[in-house]
């Protein structure tokens, strides 16, 4: 088991290096000179431009720049952006907000998704099941930004139940609507996955045996059906953590939240390459980390997986 964990950890390293190199190349090898564009119409004096190039290592070969960046990642010192603000500070400001948003979304999709999925799976073919299934398909088909705008109009503007935008200092209350929007599509997937899985297990032999030896329906559902059904669901939710971080680009844009997604999108449009690469790296780390966690969790949850 330990050997398996170690091997998976080592496998992650080349993937991380490759993914960051790819992103770094995409951002920094783009045409146009960001330093020349800094001073507006008239441009900055030659000497200042040279100094900025020196400071950001822009006069060195691309691969050297990448190594400076890697050194920055390891030492948590990613340098400053063009306006002089430390990039690490920008990340420190943005990350907690997105983390809270993603956590709230995960709780919503997990609790509601599993509850509805269990209920529907145990009543497969009945009215409740069909209604839930149709709704889940609709949620999957409608893009997140449409759900976001829709809820903004209905819940935020017309009913005036929840705040429409989160603004500078988001709290639980103002993040509630964005997190529901962020969770919507994943909720539908969790529901469908749980439903299929529960239905498969409910007709399995071990459940019949448990019922036959006199266990109550509630106990069988809790101990035998739900536990076995949750293995694929847990793995989905783990992988989804990475997707939610990327999904925050859209959700945070709609609700005007200063999280990783919102800041990243702004930085891309302003050409703040250092910030873009740093925030993208954060996303990639979460993405790879979530996938790794799921792999390890899967090995713990399902003993049939061989560690070879």
């Amino acid at each position: 088991m330990l050997w398996y964990i170690g091997r998976r950890l080592i496998q992650v390293i080349p993937v991380f290096l490759g993914a960051t190199l790819l992103l770094y190349a995409l951002v920094f090898l783009r045409p146009g000179d960001p330093v020349a564009a800094l001073g507006g119409e008239r441009g900055l004096p030659e000497a200042v431009q040279a100094q900025i190039r020196e400071q950001f290592h822009l006069n060195e070969p691309f691969i050297m720049q990448y190594f400076y960046f890697l050194k920055g990642v390891v030492t948590f010192d990613m340098g400053n952006d063009f306006t002089g603000q430390p990039v690490a500070e920008t990340i420190a400001n943005a990350l907690p907000v997105t983390f809270q948003l993603a956590m709230m979304a995960i709780v919503i999709e997990a609790v509601l998704g599993i509850a509805f999925g269990l209920w529907a799976g145990m009543r497969k073919g009945k009215l409740f099941d069909s209604v839930v299934l149709v709704w889940s398909l609709l949620l999957i088909s409608v893009p997140t930004f449409v759900t976001g705008l829709l809820l903004q109009i209905i819940v935020g503007v017309q009913l005036d139940w929840l705040p429409v935008t989160a603004g500078r200092d988001p709290n639980f209350y103002s993040l509630l609507l964005p997190s529901i929007v962020l969770a919507a599509t994943s909720f539908a997937y969790v529901l469908r996955l749980t439903r299929t899985s529960v239905f498969e297990n409910i007709t399995a032999d071990f459940v019949r045996t448990a019922r036959a030896k006199g266990l109550s329906r509630a106990l069988v559902t809790r101990r035998h059906v739900l536990r076995n059904s949750l293995i694929p669901v847990v793995t989905f939710i783990g992988v989804d953590l990475g997707n939610l971080m990327t999904g925050s680009i859209v959700t945070e844009g709609i609700f005007n939240i200063n999280g990783v997604g919102g800041t990243l999108f702004e930085a891309i449009q302003r050409g703040e390459n250092t910030t873009v690469v740093a925030l993208s790296t954060v996303l990639v780390i979460v993405y790879i980390g979530a996938n790794l966690l799921v792999d390890l969790l899967y090995a713990v949850l399902d003993p049939r997986i061989r560690y070879a």
């Binding site: 398909l137 997707n243 891309i268």
Partner: protein, 319 residues
């Protein structure tokens, strides 16, 4: 109870005693061995045909495709040049069935004409992704060795870069953003799942007897891969591609909504939703039609994907 079973079976065991008429040898004998065997695809088609959901989704997709090819047949209004700024936010009328938006454009016409870019991006991206993913996955799986190591790590790397993030970074520096540009960018980071599916399928048939036989008969490696290994991967790839087509349409609409997808001059649902957002508080109803059209199209492909998966997966068919 049948007469000629074992004498005096114990209660409850009757069923397990297999008499001649339980096995029904005549049924086995009556199988016509000269008849052509029914293929997996024929079975799947017969299965699919009986499902009402298949016809529902097929009709939805056909409607969207027809509208995307000949939108002009269904309306006389023009989506771009027919706009009248003096007639903005008009209520639905005989002339404008869905009313007009803030630029005075006919919403009905724009919704119909917007189908083209979505369908185009969806089909182009899916085509690219299937070709690229199958090629990479099949080569990695079939040739193995160092080529497999390199291609598999490459797949891992592209998989680790979030799809939407990469698309935003690349598209933000593209000068001209047509349907083809968006499709190429989406495909550049969307091929990884198909590569993994193709690799797995090829690996699973690689050591079968029929592959060894083909090798012994002198068939080349590439020919074996195309003729014997790839058809085995076709079913899971088709299932994945059908659902993926819907998600690519969603991705395009999302990017266009963010302002970095298709050019604003292209009539598209994502673009209309983006412009409609500015009138969110005063006239939210103008966003309804592009959103509904988008949802309708994606729903069609997701439903079809569901039906195709059920039909091609014999395990699911039994239930």
């Amino acid at each position: 109870m049948p007469e000629n079973t074992r004498p005096n079976p114990r209660p409850g065991q009757e069923h397990f005693v297999a008499g001649p008429d339980v096995v029904q040898l005549q049924v086995i004998d009556s199988v016509d061995t000269s008849e052509a065997p029914s293929s997996m695809w024929r079975d799947a088609w017969n299965e699919m045909r009986r499902r009402p959901m298949f016809w529902v989704s097929a009709v939805m997709i056909v409607v969207v495709i027809i509208v995307s090819i000949i939108p002009g047949v269904f309306t006389t209004a023009l989506p771009r040049s027919g706009c009248d700024l003096g007639n903005a936010f008009a209520s639905p009328s005989g002339e404008h069935p869905f009313g007009t938006n803030q630029n005075g454009c006919d919403i009905y016409a724009r919704t119909l004409f917007g189908a083209r870019s979505s369908v185009l991006v969806g089909t182009l991206t899916t085509t690219f992704v299937v070709i690229l993913g199958t090629a990479i996955g099949a080569i990695a799986g079939y040739y193995g060795g160092w080529l497999d190591t390199i291609l598999s790590r490459l797949t891992d790397v592209f998989f680790a870069v979030p799809f939407v993030l990469a698309a935003i970074v690349i598209l933000s520096l593209a000068e001209e953003r047509t349907e083809l540009t968006v499709a190429v960018v989406l495909a550049a980071f969307g091929w990884t799942s198909i590569a993994r599916i193709a690799r797995g399928s090829v690996l699973s048939v690689k050591n079968n007897e029929f592959v060894t036989a083909a090798k012994a008969l002198g068939m080349g490696r590439f020919a074996i891969m195309v003729r014997h290994a790839l058809p085995n991967a076709a079913a899971p790839i088709i299932v994945y591609a059908t659902v993926a087509l819907g998600t690519f349409i969603v991705a395009e609409a999302t990017l266009t909504f963010l302002g970095i997808g298709l050019d604003p001059s292209t009539v598209s649902w994502g673009g209309d939703l983006s412009t409609g957002q500015s009138a969110l508080r005063s006239n939210p109803e103008i966003m309804f039609y592009p959103a509904a059209a988008l949802g309708f199209t994606v729903l069609g492909f997701i439903l079809l994907g569901d039906v195709v998966r059920d039909a091609l997966d014999p395990k699911a068919r039994k239930r």
